[in-house]
């Protein structure tokens, strides 16, 4: 392909949008082609990506979750494996496990939630910035799991959970399935109004607000 080096050729060609839409192409408007109605629509659809701002934002959010590095017990080991080399969570873009809840938007509660730990998890969830999601990984935090006793509380009781991942512990593939399901959920940009039942909308700004 020969590269034209004449100054005139290097000038940015400002094209009339109308010329493009009416069937012109980049090398010179073909004024004679006219497209109408459905042909025009199809022509535009093939060439221009239209979307609403909401959908774009939802797409961006869903592809870049920042998980909060929060592992409690055995499920945390499988969470490590999900971030490990074989079942790589980084190929979806989620490998940035943040240490601080203020920088994270996804909390993966991996492990058994004891009654001593529950208020702390709730506090962490409150400190996360909107929009935020929660995945309950494992049987112990989704329901009571193997241990149906005085010491545990299922995460559903104090925290709105978006996706429950069953397993004891769930394989890294199962965790990935859960995360991808959440991704699909977020892409469809759901209305999060149900979280008001938990009084969990908004972010806790300072410890004095609690």
């Amino acid at each position: 392909m020969e590269i034209k080096r004449e100054p005139a050729a290097l000038r940015v060609q400002s094209l009339n949008a109308r010329q493009l839409l009416r069937g012109g192409d980049l090398e010179g408007a073909n004024q004679s082609a006219h497209l109408e109605d459905t042909e025009l629509e199809r022509y535009v659809e093939e060439r221009v990506l239209t979307t609403t701002l909401d959908k774009t934002v939802a797409w961006a959010r869903s592809n870049s979750f920042f998980p909060l590095g929060f592992g409690l017990a055995c499920c945390a080991m499988e969470q490590f494996h999900a971030a490990g080399p074989r079942m790589d969570i980084a190929r979806f873009g989620f490998e940035v496990f943040r240490a601080s809840p203020r920088q994270a938007d996804l909390i993966i509660i991996a492990g058994r939630v004891s009654i001593k730990m529950a208020p702390i998890i709730r506090r962490l969830y409150d400190q996360m910035l909107e929009p935020k999601w929660a995945i309950s990984m494992g049987a112990c935090c989704s329901s009571m799991g193997v241990f149906n006793n005085y010491a545990l509380v299922p995460a559903d009781k104090f925290l709105p959970i978006d996706v429950h991942v069953p397993g004891c512990p769930p394989r890294p593939e199962a965790l990935m399935h859960g995360v991808l399901k959440l991704r699909k959920l977020v892409q469809n940009d759901p209305d999060m109004g149900w979280r008001e039942r938990y009084d969990a909308v908004g972010t806790e700004e300072s410890p004095l607000d609690a």
């Binding site: 929060f70 017990a73 945390a76 499988e78 494996h81 730990m117 112990c140 241990f147 006793n149 010491a151």
Partner: protein, 429 residues
Amino acid sequence: MSPAPTPVDSPALSDYRRREQSIDLAPVGEQLVGLDHENETTEELLTLNFGPHHPATHGVLRLLVTLQGEVVRDLKPIIGYVHTGIEKTAEDKAYWKAIPIVERMDYLAYYFNAMAYVGAVEALVEVEVPTRAQYLRVIHLELNRIASHLIWLGTSALDLGASSIFLYCLRERELILDLFEMSSGARMHTRYFQVGGVIEDIPAGFARKLREFLKVMPERADEYGAILNANEIVLQRLRGTCPLDAETLLGLGVTGPLLRAAGNPWDLRKAAPYSSYEHFEFKIPVGTVGDNYDRFAVRLAEIYESVKIIEQALEGLPEGPHITEDRKVALPPRHELATSMEALIHHFKLVTEGFRVPPGEVYHPIESPRGELGCYVRSDGSSKPARVHMRDPSFVNLQALAPMCRGNYIADMIATTAMLDPILGGIDR
């Protein structure tokens, strides 16, 4: 500072600035000026809370650290954030149904939890474990030891800043978990050990895959050693930091690699062998100084020794049953259920009620990757245990954290917590 502060009640000031300017720094200035360096207690001590959610605490461990500058003056661990009531739940289940409950205690050494419990029950019921089952148990226990040390190495290196080691260790651990999946169907918490033996014999192909792994593992361990031992930062953070002598450690009840790093070669696999460990030749790595570097080196060397044990166990694996023939304790093989009435009745009794154990109490200790893991089982004659207590090594070893860290820097405290290898599931049970 600002050139000419606006008066405090001026409307031009924001709330924040108003608060800032109304702070009187004079008393603090007097304190700082009047420091008495000989009597350090007049300086300000700061109590800082580490965790329970903190990237450097292994699991949900909360530490209340009293600092003077960057020097740790006192340390108080607060635990209980993952207390699951395992011992109470195990009282509610039949003896063999409590095995999955007890397995989930120390969640990196699940075979060891099962082994301690099953060993105690076998002592109570007085059932013989066939040699093939013992060798299979040893293979799985040592594989689990390597897996536990790999996670320890990965997360400790992550704490110290060497984050690529974490991914390398997970790569090897995937191989081990593949082997576990082959033999029992699950990667973690496999309930492979049963009272009287193991639940199933190893499948075809397991031996070949295990041999491949055994060829690869020492080379990889060499890699880790090469990377970390040549890393100036890791060496400076580990060498000479937070040593503790063997006497104090024994007083605190510490066993395992921590005690061996301080020079005491106490290892239950050699001292009081169980499950045919006496058939195998292996060495016990022992440190000299008892600082963090020795703890690291001892655990890394233990990986090689475990590989040796598995090789010997695999070579010498005898033929025979994989679980005891006593049908009152172990489930009969499924093909017998179609032909034998007794087998059916035994199966029914075992699954619904479980076997009854004569009243008595037993304490059965084994050597887990963190130290002496003991299981105390008290039976009252029924089919459910009356008390199951797991003497977890991390729970006792945690008491050594405070003496180790007093007088050292915070950064050393982080490195020491990593080298201590606490597993909160075992600590909190």
